[in-house]
């Protein structure tokens, strides 16, 4: 150690951040667990009738929306993330291999990174509009009749509305996830030593082999990082759904079984009725369920990447 300890001074520098973090980050973290075990917590009075071990969790799981939220979250995560990662990887490798227009195309692919999830969600909702939407117009060119993606004209006609609305949401989710992944992959590709590729060229290695034996292994730390963060992000999907469908979280006129609610949606749903008995505790329980899912998943991912990633 080159310098003496300076405990008092260090804590003075730390004080503003630590004070704020204590109130708005550390305390809420512990309090979430506390709230989740309170019986009949009354938010307005701040009182509860003792503790319950799993009562609030059981209440959350017994909600009719819980199964739907789990299904939606799982579909969004396990469909959109792999597709977006693979497409982003292909775009990055393609972008990295060209010279002309590289800068321009790069800017185009980066654009969605900064956009507002609500605003773009509204644009996507209008692209998928059954009468005036762009997609149905384009499908018309190849002779496909308009599909009722997310605008239900009669409520009775809603049997398969979930799958269509989910399709639209997945397209938007993939669109929204590409930019960040391409940015990370591209910076990873640009840092790969050119010697590997020169050696492969001398050996006349086929392009596919170069991709699978050089590019992917050397990019594997980025792929692992992107996969973990994307899965975590997808588990927390919520804003995209508000953007496309509004706060009802479902296409107009859709039945509640066709809702696109997610686990985060459950949290905010309970929070919206904060003054109802036990609602805050249920929100806390739902957020802990989300936390546990993310934790379990991150641990599994880290185990897998330990074995597969070449650092």
């Amino acid at each position: 150690m080159l310098e003496k300890q300076s405990n008092v001074k260090a804590w003075l520098y730390l004080a503003p951040a630590m004070l704020l973090l204590s109130v708005f980050t550390f305390y809420p973290l512990f309090n979430a667990f506390f709230l989740a075990f309170l019986r009949d917590y009354e938010f307005l009075l701040g009182s509860a009738r003792g503790f319950t071990f799993l009562g609030n969790f059981i209440n959350v799981i017994n909600k009719p929306d819980f199964g739907i939220a789990m299904k939606n979250t799982a579909v969004i995560t396990f469909v959109s993330v792999p597709i977006a990662v693979i497409v982003a990887l292909m775009i990055s490798v393609a972008l990295n291999s060209i010279k002309k227009f590289q800068g321009f195309l790069q800017t185009v692919f980066f654009l969605p990174y900064v956009t507002n999830a609500i605003a773009i969600g509204m644009a996507f909702a209008f692209i998928f509009h059954s009468d005036y939407g762009l997609l149905n117009t384009m499908l018309g060119w190849v002779g496909i009749d308009p599909i009722n993606w997310i605008n239900l004209r009669q409520a009775g006609n809603a049997d398969t509305s979930w799958i269509r609305a989910m399709f639209a949401l997945l397209v938007y989710t993939i669109w929204g996830g590409l930019a960040f992944k391409i940015m990370v992959f591209l910076s990873g590709l640009q840092s790969i030593d050119k010697q590997y590729y020169d050696a492969a060229r001398i050996d006349a290695t086929p392009k596919r082999r170069v991709f699978s034996k050089i590019t992917v292994p050397l990019l594997s730390p980025m792929i692992a990082y992107i996969t973990i963060t994307s899965f975590i992000g997808a588990f927390k999907a919520y804003r995209t759904i508000i953007g496309m469908f509004g706060e009802s979280l479902r296409p107009p006129g859709a039945l509640s079984k066709d809702s696109l609610i997610t686990i985060v949606g459950l949290v905010y749903d309970s929070l919206a009725h904060a003054d109802a008995t036990g609602a805050i505790s249920e929100a806390a329980a739902a957020s802990i369920i989300l936390f546990l899912i993310i934790l379990a998943f991150t641990l599994i991912q880290m185990q897998v990447s330990k074995r597969r990633v070449h650092f």
């Binding site: 001074k9 809420p28 507002n116 762009l134 117009t137 590409l178 992000g233």
Partner: protein, 306 residues
């Protein structure tokens, strides 16, 4: 020409390789163009719709190009702007962004300095603790923060009981610091060589002066990145402002998007809706195009967007 073709197998092979390469290049450009179109389509559709007359919008199938004479340059934007008291929202957003960004920058500089430069008991443990909280979903914090803000009297579901000051406190106080930015700036501070610090110490420079005269100027690109990312975060905030404001006039720009843009029979006015979406999107895009260098610095380390 003929001669060449006949007497050398090499040349044929080379030409074949060349042709194959041209086809390959073409396919790559085709692939990239298709996805570039996919990325741009929502923007195009927003702009196009926002320039259309409502009768033109409610036409099935819609036109994908409109003539110059049909363009309504400002009418939809003016209508969208007025429909949701955007002046107010913009003013609120700029105020909230200014307060929370200033706060965040200062608290982050101080904390990062302590973690990167000062030597105190429990430093590494505390830092590890901080980083761990980055993995926890924000919804876990939101619940208690909602209670805290209510108990402090900054938010009440009864509109008349929330003053502008209350609303500003509720909107800014939970966002006056950030673990991610502390982590980010500490990494930058760490890269500044120790020799500089020791030399400054020999000259009798105080820590305070060293931080502001040496470290902050050297780390200024990172601090600019933090400023931009934080301000853009406020601009796009939706859930928290909605949760802790009881009156429309305290909300932020993104909240204005979800207001009803509909005519007197309840039909959605998509052209105005898209104009509003563009009003909110355009400043972000302009910021990105001009300050991309700074925004990209944050990307390599961040997981803020997935």
């Amino acid at each position: 020409m003929e001669l060449k073709m006949n007497n050398s197998q090499m040349n044929v092979n080379q030409r074949e390789i060349q042709i194959r390469q041209i086809i390959f290049k073409t396919l790559i450009y085709l692939f990239l163009t298709l996805f570039a179109i996919f990325v741009l389509v929502p923007f195009y559709w927003m702009v196009l719709t926002s320039l259309k007359e409502i009768d033109e919008v409610r036409k099935s199938p819609p036109s994908l190009i409109i003539g110059f004479s049909q363009i309504r340059f400002w009418a939809n934007y003016v209508a969208a702007w007025n429909a949701a008291q955007y002046w107010r929202y913009m003013l609120n957003t700029v105020t909230v962004a200014a307060i929370s960004t200033t706060g965040t920058v200062f608290t982050t500089i101080f904390a990062s300095f302590a973690f990167a430069r000062l030597n105190f008991r429990g430093r590494d443990l505390l830092f590890l603790l901080l980083i761990t909280t980055m993995m926890i979903p924000g919804e876990m914090f939101v619940i208690t923060n909602y209670i805290t803000v209510s108990r402090l009297g900054w938010f009440s579901p009864i509109a008349s009981q929330q003053s502008l000051l209350d609303a500003l406190l509720a909107l800014t106080m939970p966002f006056m610091t950030s673990v991610f930015y502390i982590f980010f700036l500490r990494q930058t501070f760490k890269q500044i060589p120790d020799e500089l610090y020791l030399a400054a110490k020999v000259d009798g420079t105080s820590d305070w002066k060293y931080l502001w005269k040496i470290m902050v100027p050297i780390a200024s690109p990172t601090i600019i990145t933090i400023t931009i990312l934080n301000a853009m975060g406020t601009w796009s905030a939706y859930i928290w402002p909605k949760l802790v404001t009881s009156r429309d006039e305290y909300r932020l720009v993104t909240n204005g998007l979800r207001e009803a843009y509909s005519d007197f029979v309840g039909q959605v006015l998509y052209n105005q809706q898209m104009a509003a979406a563009l009003i909110v999107t355009t400043p972000l895009l302009i910021t990105f195009l001009f300050l991309r260098k700074y925004i990209m610095r944050g990307v390599s380390r961040s997981g803020i967007k997935g």
